[in-house]
């Protein structure tokens, strides 16, 4: 009887084998890029299938090939599980022989992927993750962190808001490592700029009701309410803040906001909110042109991460073209010695620790009367030079930095 079970399992194993993608010919005459991101869950709107499309656009703009070598894109959904992502990445490196790995959203996943890429000595580009550790304590010679990180957000928003007069702060923090990091980084900046912290309240992750915490914030009589949270928590706290009229006595400072969040909340609720962003579709003609192409395919305007996907892939492909090689070390060397000048960043550059330094922007959400249509949500208040918002080399905890 058990023999039958055995043969059944062998059959299934065979089926599993057969359904492996037919990339058994390992040829290095192809430039293969692997892209893992959250395709269907909490972060799917800010990156997800839109991000894949952006990467495809970058490949298409390169002509689909470099010096006769075809460019291929593999993608997968990590479902916010680090081991699904890790298994996929290892499979791609070992079996499909990818040359470059892209990490979409989710810091935990990106940290895991960075480790694997370092092991395999291949380039890893982290686009949508926020963890500054990627170029800090867990940096690697093969990691490039592209769009933003928690330090830049904290410094940008913190110092700019204090300079604009918002001196006393109260934090509503999501009670987990990311929230704490965001709160701590911002608090340091605020204090250094001469502001004061009136207090903070730590709300459990994925709380649905923030009314109680907001009431505590209001009774602190601080001028600014700093939202050290992300995603659904940010959306729910903004909505509740609006309901309780917090906006009448305090100004909201979001520490991690994406255009998709504003889109789903609506301008009525978010107007006047200030935050730091790395890119906006309506900044100049170049960004507008690219965003129109993106919107034609994806039916909505791109977020900073999706623009970052395009920019990072283009930069990598340029590196391959210039060096004529897809070897990890060669490409990394080129990337760290050349500037990034495209619709995403002007005079950006990749530092020794892998951090891509570029200007960030302080944005404010428009009033409904100021907006001409959907996605027309931001006005740019200030440019925050890259060198001043990202972790400086002197502060860096990366082992690659020689001090």
């Amino acid at each position: 009887m058990k023999l039958r079970t055995l043969s059944a399992s062998l059959m299934l194993a065979g089926f599993g084998l057969a359904s492996q993608p037919a990339f058994a010919n390992i040829s290095d005459d192809v430039i293969r890029i692997g892209f893992v991101t959250d395709m269907a869950s909490v972060y799917s709107d800010i990156d997800g299938p839109g991000g894949i499309e952006a990467a495809r656009m970058a490949i298409a703009d390169m002509g689909g090939q470099i010096n006769g070598k075809k460019i291929e894109l593999l993608f997968a959904d990590h479902q916010n599980k680090a081991d699904v992502a890790a298994a996929k990445a290892r499979e791609w490196f070992d079996q499909q022989k990818i040359d470059m790995l892209i990490g979409g959203t989710n810091s935990g996943v990106n940290l895991a992927l960075a480790g694997i890429a370092a092991e395999k000595k291949k380039v890893f580009m982290a686009i949508g993750a926020a963890a500054s550790d990627l170029t800090g304590a867990q940096c690697s010679p093969y990691t490039v962190h592209w769009a933003y990180d928690t330090v830049a957000l904290a410094r940008g928003t913190g110092s700019a808001v204090v300079k604009a007069g918002g001196k006393s702060w109260y934090f509503l923090t999501a009670d987990y490592a990311f929230g704490h990091a965001l709160e701590r980084d911002t608090a340091n900046v605020v204090k250094a700029a001469g502001g004061e912290i009136k207090g903070q309240v730590r709300a459990p992750l994925n709380s649905s009701d923030f009314s109680s915490f907001l009431l505590q914030a209001q009774s602190s009589k601080a001028q600014i309410l700093g939202l050290a949270n992300a995603g659904g928590d940010t959306i729910n706290s903004i909505k509740a803040a609006n309901e309780f009229g917090i906006g009448k006595t305090m100004k909201l400072a979001g520490l991690l906001i994406f255009i998709n969040d504003i889109h789903s909340l609506g301008l009525n609720v978010t107007q006047g909110m200030q935050f730091t962003d790395g890119w906006y579709w309506d900044q100049n003609d170049e960004t507008r042109a690219w965003s129109a192409k993106f919107e034609a395919k994806v039916k909505r305007k791109p977020s900073m991460i999706q623009a970052g996907d395009y920019s990072a892939v283009s930069f990598y492909l340029n590196a391959v073209k210039a060096t004529g090689s897809d070897d990890g070390d060669t490409v990394m060397k080129w990337m760290k010695s050349n500037k990034v000048n495209d619709m995403f960043a002007k005079n950006g550059y990749v530092r020794e620790d892998g951090r891509m330094i570029h200007d960030m922007f302080l944005m404010e959400v428009k009033k409904p009367s100021e907006s001409k249509g959907p996605w027309d949500y931001y006005k740019q208040i200030a440019v925050l030079p890259g060198e001043s918002v990202f972790t400086t080399l002197a502060e860096s905890t990366c082992k690659l930095i020689k001090k």
């Binding site: 909490v42 309780f244 909340l265 609720v269």
Partner: protein
């Protein structure tokens, strides 16, 4: 200024009131679960997903058909109830003669299906829904400013809970329901259509969930994940109250809302786990739950 445990009385009362608002949601949801469990002996894991469905229906009604909040408040529970009838008739019915665990697993599968489908169509950022005109604004109660809508939530939840309790405990229909739980054969022998009663009970239970969803729509972002965040807490509430006890579900729901509200003030980080801690304590001291009877 009077202070209680170091915080001003005003703030304290304010937090209690907010806790009561949350407690109302817990009460309605655990009421639905208790009703379903009492008669069908099924743990309806899909309660969270159906609550989410109710909220989405409110939004769909507004966006696609221009139906306002008041219409959807009445219509959405009906639609959810009808959907519940479908689930019961075509899926749950087959499982009654089996171990109760299968009902739990089936509804778990339904939850995954519904959440996945909604997520696939609507993404996760959520849909906005504005408070109806009549309930906008806030009232200054002296010790705090309470949005009118939240006051409405408390009032309507208490009314609905009381009405349900009254029907089940004090009317003939309720008596039939309770008898059906104890001894379905006998009740059937009296000419009562027990299967129909069961179907309608399930429909009513999930309609309550849908109703809670519409109530929640203006407060929370309507997202496919809103149910799963809530359902585990509601389960704990039902375990603490004692499953199958209607009064127990209502009182425990409100009480835990209050306790959670207080925890948010004194120890905010623990506010999401306090319910489970209480559950563990209650289980040690009174395994059947505060109001439950040992089955």
């Amino acid at each position: 200024m009077i202070t209680i445990f170091g915080i001003p009385l005003q703030a304290f009362l304010g937090q209690l009131l907010l806790g009561l608002v949350n407690g109302s949601f817990y009460a309605i949801l655990s009421l639905g679960l208790a009703v379903i469990f009492g008669l069908l002996n099924v743990i309806n894991f899909a309660h969270g997903a159906l609550y989410m469905f109710g909220a989405f229906l409110a939004w769909m009604g507004m966006s696609y058909f221009g139906l306002n909040y008041w219409v959807m408040l009445a219509l959405a529970p009906v639609i959810v109830g009808l959907f519940g009838i479908l689930i019961e008739k075509f899926l749950l019915k087959h499982l009654y003669k089996l171990d109760h665990l299968y009902g739990l697993l089936l509804t778990f599968g339904i939850t995954l299906l519904m959440e996945g489908l909604f997520r696939s169509f609507y993404g996760v950022s959520g849909q906005p829904y504005s408070t109806p005109e009549a309930l906008r604004g806030a009232t200054n109660l002296g010790f705090m400013v309470l949005p009118n809508y939240r006051a409405w939530v408390v009032v309507v939840s208490l009314v609905v809970c009381f009405a349900t309790w009254f029907v089940i405990e004090r009317t003939r229909l309720g008596a039939l329901l309770r008898a059906g739980t104890e001894n379905p054969r006998l009740v059937e022998a009296f000419g009562v259509n027990v299967p129909l009663m069961i179907t309608l009970t399930y429909a009513f239970g999930v309609a309550l969930a849908g109703f809670a969803g519409v109530l929640a729509a203006p407060i929370l972002q309507i997202s496919p994940l809103m149910g799963s965040n809530l359902i585990v807490v509601v389960f704990a509430v039902v375990v603490i109250g004692g499953m199958g006890s209607i009064l127990g579900a209502i009182v425990t729901g409100l009480g835990l809302g209050l306790i959670e509200g207080l925890t948010k003030v004194f120890w905010p980080e623990a506010s999401s786990t306090v319910v489970f801690i209480i559950m563990a304590i209650v289980l040690l001291l009174r395994p059947a739950g505060l109001f439950g009877k040992e089955k």
